[in-house]
């Protein structure tokens, strides 16, 4: 028991404490900026209403505006708290509902994107001509701004009656197949020459070499590239929600918020999207640690 506390203490000291200090510092800077950016509006109002005020009045007012230029952290967290706890999940104002609307296409897009990325990588590694013919197009696909291509995808898929989750996951997929392809091409080629020779002495077929050697050897690369892909998938989904005039989803919350100057709402959605991406990245990492190929387990 005592040792467990020691370990916990070490963990807090090594990991939590530095993060906490950085958070504290950022919050301080944030509150200062909130005062600086919101003060002109408050000063205007005080002048109009001809109220006398103290510095404390001014500062507290800048942190409690309904539509501030920069909302203060506690306003954002209260907005998230209200949206997730105080409101029923079925309500139009529930952030859990909007979060789920964004999460579903993200997960689907990540799944399709990872599968596509792996298939492309296998093709590139096994068929020599594909490396020359396919890879330039794959790279070119990522130089097109996603903001330009997203509305086209939505409209094209909409015209064949594909609406809702699927078009958004296509955009998420578009962003996340790329890191998986690049990572997996490297991963599938990462196996040691000796391990390859061994397969040859067994007269193993190319298919057997893929399943028993190349794929297991590439798992650390898959985990690393899926972490990049997971974060990109969230961005893809949110970009997919922007041009459609969607009413639901974190992207829609940001868009609607910007129409009506609801800055607190925008920031709350933004924080939630970031949290979503972080949770996905951590989930990929945790699943990756289970694999017997992970560096943690192969370390001598």
């Amino acid at each position: 028991m005592g040792r467990m506390w020691d370990k916990f203490g070490q963990y807090v000291h090594a990991r939590i404490f530095p993060i906490f200090v950085v958070c504290l510092f950022l919050c301080g800077v944030w509150y200062a900026f909130a005062v600086y950016l919101n003060a002109p509006q408050i000063l205007d109002r005080f002048e109009r209403e001809q109220t006398s005020y103290t510095t404390t009045d001014l500062i507290t007012s800048t942190w409690a505006m309904e539509r501030p230029v920069l909302p203060s952290p506690h306003q954002i967290f209260y907005e998230i708290y209200r949206g997730t706890v105080l409101v029923k999940p079925t309500s139009k104002r529930s952030l859990i509902l909007h979060g789920w609307i964004t999460l579903a296409p993200t997960l689907l897009g990540l799944l399709i994107g990872t599968t596509l990325g792996m298939l492309l990588a296998v093709g590139i590694v096994y068929v020599r001509t594909l490396e020359g013919s396919l890879l330039p197009w794959i790279i070119a696909s990522q130089t097109v701004p996603i903001l330009a291509i997203a509305p086209i995808i939505i409209v094209v898929l909409g015209s064949i009656d594909l609406v809702g989750v699927f078009p958004k996951s296509v955009i998420a997929m578009y962003l996340c197949f790329f890191p998986v392809t690049i990572g997996m091409v490297k991963g599938l080629r990462s196996c040691e020459p000796l391990h390859m020779d061994l397969m040859r002495t067994y007269a193993a077929s190319p298919w057997q070499i893929l399943l028993k050697l190349r794929l297991p050897a590439s798992m650390p690369y898959l985990v690393a590239s899926m972490k990049v892909a997971a974060a990109a998938a969230v961005v893809g989904t949110i970009v997919g929600e922007l041009p459609t005039g969607a009413r639901e989803g974190l992207g829609a919350r940001m868009l609607v918020g910007s129409y009506y100057g609801q800055t607190i709402q925008i920031w709350a959605a933004l924080f939630l999207a970031a949290a979503l991406a972080a949770v996905l990245v951590v989930a990929v990492e945790v699943i990756g640690r289970w694999l017997p190929t992970s560096p943690a387990k192969t370390r001598a």
């Binding site: 040691e192 000796l194 391990h195 020779d197 061994l198 040859r200 002495t201 067994y202 007269a203 193993a204 057997q208 028993k212 050697l213 297991p216 050897a217 798992m219 694999l291 017997p292 190929t293 387990k297 192969t298 370390r299 001598a300």
Partner: protein
């Protein structure tokens, strides 16, 4: 796939291998003639660059000769490889880190499509043979270097090939471990009666293990001498103090010196 004592008959006939480098050709093997009889323990010894590993890789069909002929029990190296006639033990254990020791040993059996129960049985037998029965659930990194190499020998034996090709399998190990594994390998050879082709650059190791020693020399890679050891079958490590042993070792040393003398090293 079955083990029979009459397998491992290797005939090498005027074999040459030339690597094309940028400005000159490297004659890795030049006019090699050698016959290895079933059940023999033959060591290939020589300084680095003499082509001993290359010769072993040509036998295993991991490398193609430029000219000449090689058969294993009357088959081409490619046929022999496809028929799983030999097991190869590399310089490093080359165990797959994501597989347990047992799963590493069953890898070739898996590839051959053997039934699972039989796979497990074979793994158990062969791990017992190399003294690793209790470690079947461990991962390679949990084992010492010597144990890893023993596991790789169990893997090479798992599909019961008549021929064992070993490329400096104990070269990376410390001397104490190496001595123990030499003892172990000798026992194994006596028990199974397999043909072994063993690459090494250690004279005591070659003399201790082999029934015949092939001395090679570099530039071009060629055979200088073939020496019969004629040491008693039940030899132990103590035989290294024996005059008969030192005499053979001296012969090998002279052979190696002779190979070097033409280039005034």
């Amino acid at each position: 796939m079955s083990s029979n004592s009459s397998s491992g008959h290797i005939v090498v006939d005027s074999l040459s291998l030339t690597f094309r480098a940028k400005d000159h050709d490297v004659h890795a093997l030049s006019d090699i003639n050698l016959t290895i009889k079933p059940g023999e323990f033959v060591s290939l010894i020589g300084p680095s660059g003499c082509g001993k590993t290359t010769l072993l890789r040509v036998i295993a069909d991991l490398q193609e000769p430029s000219s000449g002929h090689l058969t294993i029990d009357g088959q081409t190296p490619q046929e022999a490889r496809e028929n799983h006639r030999y097991g190869f033990v590399f310089q490093a254990a080359a165990l797959y880190p994501w597989r347990t020791i047992e799963k590493n040993v069953t890898l070739p059996l898996e590839l051959m499509g053997m039934d699972r129960k039989e796979q497990r049985k074979r793994a158990k037998e062969n791990l017992e043979l190399v003294g690793l029965a209790d470690f079947h659930k461990k991962y390679p990194w949990q084992l010492s270097g010597g144990m890893q190499q023993r596991a790789s020998i169990a893997r090479a034996l798992s599909f019961q090939p008549g021929l064992l090709l070993m490329d400096e399998p104990f070269g990376a190990l410390d001397e104490i471990t190496r001595d123990r594994l030499n003892m172990h390998l000798l026992d194994l050879w006596r028990q199974t009666g397999k043909t072994v082709v063993f690459v090494t650059h250690s004279i005591p190791e070659a003399v201790f293990l082999s029934s015949r020693i092939v001395v090679m020399s570099p530039r071009p890679g060629r055979i200088i001498d073939v020496i019969d050891t004629n040491l008693p079958a039940d030899r132990t490590l103590e035989i290294r103090e024996d005059p008969a042993f030192t005499a053979v070792a001296q012969k090998v040393r002279n052979g190696l010196k002779h190979g070097h003398s033409d280039e005034s090293l």
